[in-house]
Symmetry: C2
Subunit: 275 residues, 2 copies
């Protein structure tokens, strides 16, 4: 599940977790920015609606992408693990300049796509410069370590977040979505406190983190992104507490960034919007 | 509303905000610790039930304090501002070794006690070594700047917290109560981001911050205290956002401390429970 290696002559594509609830219209700042990155009118978008149990989820995005103006927008239906070895579906993904995963349940994505040719293709494509976005469950699925489930609440508790292996486009962040709307700070802190190796990104609805090839994140959208930086963590009692009991954490750094704000995953420096 | 000056020969009394919902039984770690500080069997406790609109709130605490074992536990009923100039009530407060404010609505405390002889007496008594505790609304009322009201939610928004002048026992902290239970991180961050001079203490239910004369806080109780340290705040957009809109904050430090944990308001260093 490690990210595929970026070769010397290539540049990784953008990784774009969206917090869910983005405006599904052609004027959406998030979706238009995604399409522009993918080539604008020359973009070939593959839509993976696997997370959703609704039949029209893919159609809605296809309509919006076509309204924005793309060369093609194809729905790649992956309902069974065997679909992820289908040569026609793999070929559609192979020719895409951008791949978009809809919302729903991230465990559907992980159980159906995990370990298949589609998962390998997506990691390799991203390493070769293809941009991959996911909203809500599609965002949660992006990193190597995914929050599978866990209840809301402002403060961390033993076992509050259940992690599972994700797609593995990056191993530098853990992502939580619908962040402000569902009060998930405690869940994200819990997820990070197991092993504070990475950065927590709490992504609000209608908000996206555009993680560039240089590992600088730019925030786009109407909400905010809560960046949890455990670099300076001095103490975590997660190993000692029983399920549901509060966890002691000392030395967490926290930023709340809005549209135009940036966070550098390498230097771990945050900057506000210059506008 | 500034704290009264502690004279050279005196030591300030403890200031004890409790997050509400503390166990009102004689085995309560919080209440027994408070009584012990106040002199144990020699303690003379004055109970101020002003925040509450219920008639028996003071009685419940009197019963518990008597069960723990004190020299006296007197209810000082302050329902009108004129009550706060009553010589008999002032005399009861004057002879107390500890003063306890119940929960209810902190604006009742502020509107009835603020600016009266009782408020002045309490600040002076604390500077002379008398311990003052407050639970829930009683906790919110303690500092110079009090959160009067504001909705829950994990992330800060413009105008989310409404501040009002409090009792003024300390100007080093802003207190929020029922913290974890009501998801008030956003409210406390909002309150701090107006003017990040102080430390935010988010106190969970059945949990207390025993703020000592040396300004070292010790945590007692079954929940946690979320310490928000804005010392390193690099940027706040609170001045630029309209009401209800998200606020950009960069460089917040956050600790979650449990029973036995400590935070030094002078050095701003946190330490976990040694146990």
């Amino acid at each position: 599940m490690c990210p595929a290696k970026v070769s010397d002559h290539a540049e990784r594509g953008y990784i774009i977790p969206i917090g869910g609830g983005e405006r599904k219209v052609h004027t959406s700042a998030i979706l238009t920015r995604f399409i522009k990155l993918c080539g604008g009118s020359k973009a070939r978008i593959a839509i993976i609606p696997t997370a959703s149990r609704l039949v029209d989820t893919g159609d809605r995005y296809r309509d919006v992408f076509e309204e924005i103006g793309v060369a093609s927008a194809d729905i790649v239906t992956l309902d069974e693990r065997s679909d992820c070895e289908d040569m026609i579906k793999l070929a559609t993904l192979e020719k895409a300049t951008g791949i978009f995963m809809t919302g729903g349940d991230q465990l559907r994505l992980a159980t159906i796509i995990g370990g298949t040719s589609v998962a390998r293709l997506m990691r390799r494509a991203n390493a070769e410069g293809i941009h991959i976005a996911g909203t809500s469950a599609g965002a949660a699925f992006i990193p190597e370590h995914m929050i599978a489930f866990g209840r809301g609440g402002a403060t961390p508790k033993g076992g509050l977040a259940t992690l599972a292996p994700g797609l593995g486009l990056t191993n530098k962040v853990i992502i939580d979505q619908h962040f402000r709307e569902r009060g998930r700070l405690g869940r994200l802190l819990s997820a990070l406190s197991y092993n504070p190796f990475g950065i927590g990104l709490g992504v609000d609805e209608d908000t996206a983190a555009f993680i560039g090839p240089d590992d600088v994140i730019e925030i786009v959208g109407s909400g905010g992104i809560t960046v949890i930086d455990p670099t300076g963590l001095e103490h975590s009692s997660m190993a000692d507490v029983s399920r549901g009991k509060p966890v002691c954490l000392i030395g967490i750094r926290l930023h709340i960034l809005l549209d135009g704000g940036r966070f550098d995953l390498s230097t771990r420096e945050a900057s506000p919007s210059s506008g």
